[in-house]
């Protein structure tokens, strides 16, 4: 027994000694869900992250120093993400944190960043709280948020001349926030539109018949939705036989226009769906997208690339720009450099608002239509909705 204790202590002290703090490299701590349910998003995100890091290093690194990434799996669990973030800071000595997926994880990492005084750039979490109630000097967000999303949905409702809305959301923070964002948007753009019914499904729900049949029974002409990923796939499959998509237009946030969803659904993708995506592999509206997409295709081995990589990519690009501008990775100076910074990305210019630390990340919105020669649907026409609430 005593010998076990002895060797454990020895190991512990060896651990302590092993904490490096080499200064010849720039260290980025990256946190995405790589295993389990979240891997659907985390794995493609890591592609984009790694691609960006390689590009930055090929161009000479940050301040002439090589960039090294330390990746940790958040497992979609906030406490695990917080522990991982802390470990990245205390054990690996990272200079900056990037990533996050779900809102809770993003807020948890943000809290660690605040405590430890390290900058965190949230690349995917959409919770509005991160740049409002829970804002602090070291957190930044480069993804969109639910107010922008809801506003875009409302604008489309108005554009289509719809009269009555059924809203279906998942019963958790994102769903509540998006519902609120849509309400605000409708009040602004289409105050005469009636909200007929508010429907809720639990996160992870697999059966939507109750909601589908209520939509049909309520007589609305448009459905606004925040069902993402597998929720949308199941909803669509269950709604099709009821003929839902022949009766209403379905406008959805949650990026179900991305190729990740459209590609796998193929012929099963329903009609009359309008949705959003941060990036589309086939749309080259913005300069630099063609090259980005080609590089990504080469890296992932597939011509039709996923949407999530670009978000991770943008996070790293901001780190590069801010590091080079500030000339140091000191958190306060780095943060100051990020405020107001503009960079070019494969989906347009991005500027970080100095007050809210939020980037003006817009999205593509459009109807998903069949395309001859391929199984999957594509967005056409593609309209860019910039991130503005004016």
């Amino acid at each position: 027994m005593v010998s076990i204790v002895r060797s454990t202590t020895a190991a512990a002290f060896m651990l302590a000694a092993g904490v490096a703090s080499a200064n010849a490299e720039i260290k980025i701590g990256v946190l995405y869900p790589i295993a389990g349910t979240g891997a659907v998003y985390g794995t493609p995100a890591m592609y984009g992250h790694n691609m960006a890091v390689d590009e930055v290093n090929a161009a000479g690194g940050i301040m002439g120093q090589k960039v090294v990434s330390f990746a940790r799996d958040t497992k979609l669990k906030p406490a695990a993400a917080a522990a991982a973030a802390k470990e990245l800071i205390t054990k690996e000595g990272v200079d900056v944190l990037v990533g996050g997926l779900s809102s809770a994880v993003g807020l948890a990492i943000s809290e660690v960043a605040r405590q430890e005084g390290v900058v965190y750039i949230a690349t995917i979490p959409k919770t509005i709280q991160m740049t409002t109630k829970k804002l602090h000097k070291h957190v930044f967000r480069t993804s969109s948020h639910t107010d922008f999303e809801g506003d875009a949905i409302a604008q489309i409702v108005k554009k289509l001349g719809k009269k009555s809305v059924c809203d279906i959301q998942l019963d958790y923070a994102y769903g509540h926030d998006l519902a609120a964002g849509i309400e605000k948007g409708l009040a602004k753009h289409a105050p005469n539109v009636k909200k007929v019914i508010d429907l809720r499904s639990k996160l992870g729900a697999t059966d939507y018949n109750a909601q589908i049949t209520q939509i049909l029974g309520s007589g609305c002409d448009v459905v606004t939705s925040g069902l993402w990923g597998s929720h949308f796939v199941n909803f669509a499959q269950q709604a099709k036989p009821f003929g839902l998509f022949d009766r209403v237009t379905y406008i959805s946030g949650g990026e179900i226009a991305s190729h990740e969803i459209a590609g796998k659904m193929g012929k099963d993708y329903p009609d009359n769906v309008i949705s959003n995506s941060y990036e589309l592999w086939y749309d080259h509206t913005f300069p630099g997208h063609k090259k980005f997409q080609a590089d990504l295709a080469k890296r992932s081995g597939k011509k039709e690339t996923a949407m999530w990589p670009v978000l991770a990519y943008i996070g790293v690009k901001f780190i590069e720009a801010a590091g080079n501008k500030a000339g140091t990775m000191d958190a306060d100076k780095f943060a100051a450099a990020l405020e107001g910074m503009t960079i070019k990305t494969p989906v347009g210019d991005r500027t970080i608002d100095p007050k809210t630390h939020q980037a003006n990340t817009g999205q593509f919105w459009g109807p998903m239509v069949k395309k001859s020669g391929v199984d999957y649907r594509v967005m056409s026409p593609v309209t860019w909705y910039p991130a503005t609430l004016d």
């Binding site: 389990g36 891997a39 985390g42 794995t43 429907l199 809720r200 499959q237 036989p241």
Partner: protein, 298 residues
């Protein structure tokens, strides 16, 4: 709620929703109940078996384009193979050990097979198409209802009848029922009890796979889908009574009605329907509607 009260056809549709959801779940939960009834083991891995069934269906029907029905058969065969490996390789060492250890074994299988699914099928969001001809709606009187769900309402009772016949009316079924009463006596009479155990485990697991494959068009293969389904299965078999086939059937219907009508009337409580039902049963009649009070230390 007002829709329910004002429109009879809407209410009727909700009834259909409830029944079809129940039947969908019965097909899946039947295997769990069977395995517990005979082997006295709660198989946590039932959920991943279901998941594998769904993923196999995807590979066979959508990826390889070999047909929907082929997919169902493939799921049954695939899960049977897995079941034999698991039972002979791991389970058989634990039949006389504490229940806790058996449960943990099944949980270990959940963890390992969950990762295996990730390795084999990746983490993309997949979807499975309806089989030809069953993707539309049928006329059920004064409304139209999805044909596929109606089909499940037929398959459910068929499986029920098949299992019932197997257990109650065949010699093999008689032996199985005897094995649950007194394994030693049966063994002393020269019956090969291990074969019975393996067979039950295989049938139960194959049913999970079939359930997964049949549900795949409406419940797409997703990482983590096993966690959701296992909770629902537990609730159903406990409502009905562990090991009772009738109980599982009725339990599934009850769950279907509670979930569906609950989603209409109190949608904000969807997260807790399953657990509230579970609590209600365990507090009022723990052995379920059709179960029998167990002796201590069983």
């Amino acid at each position: 709620m007002d829709m329910l009260l004002s429109s009879p056809s809407f209410a009727f549709i909700q009834v259909l929703n409830s029944i079809s959801l129940g039947m969908n779940l019965f097909i899946i939960a039947a295997g769990l109940s069977l395995i517990f009834g005979v082997l006295r083991v709660i198989n946590f891995a039932h959920g991943v078996f279901y998941m594998f069934g769904a993923y196999i269906m995807y590979t066979v029907s959508k990826d390889l384009q070999l047909g929907f029905f082929t997919g169902v058969i493939a799921a049954a065969v695939g899960l049977s193979v897995i079941a034999i490996i698991v039972e002979r390789g791991l389970f058989q060492w634990l039949y006389d050990k504490e229940h806790l250890l058996q449960l943990l074994l099944t949980f270990a299988i959940v963890l390992i097979m969950g990762d295996m699914a990730k390795i084999i099928w990746g983490t993309d969001q997949l979807s499975v198409s309806y089989p030809e001809g069953l993707g539309g709606a049928s006329n059920v009187g004064f409304t139209f209802y999805p044909t596929y769900r109606l089909m499940l309402c037929v398959v459910g009772p068929l499986i029920f009848f098949g299992l019932w016949f197997l257990i109650e009316r065949t010699r093999w079924g008689r032996l199985t029922r005897a094995a649950t009463q007194d394994m030693e006596m049966l063994s002393a009479l020269g019956i090969n009890v291990p074969i019975i155990y393996v067979t039950i485990f295989v049938i139960g697991s194959a049913l999970a796979g079939v359930g997964g494959s049949l549900a795949a068009p409406i419940n797409s293969p997703t990482p983590g889908m096993d966690a959701t389904i296992i909770v629902e299965c537990f609730v159903i078999v406990i409502i009905g009574g562990l090991g009772s086939l009738w109980g599982t059937f009725v339990g599934a219907l009850i769950y279907g009605f509670v979930f569906n009508f609950g989603s209409v009337i109190v949608p904000n409580w969807q997260d807790v329907f399953a657990f509230l039902l579970l609590m209600a049963v365990l507090l009022i009649r723990p052995w379920g509607l059709f179960g029998k009070p167990e002796q201590e230390g069983h």
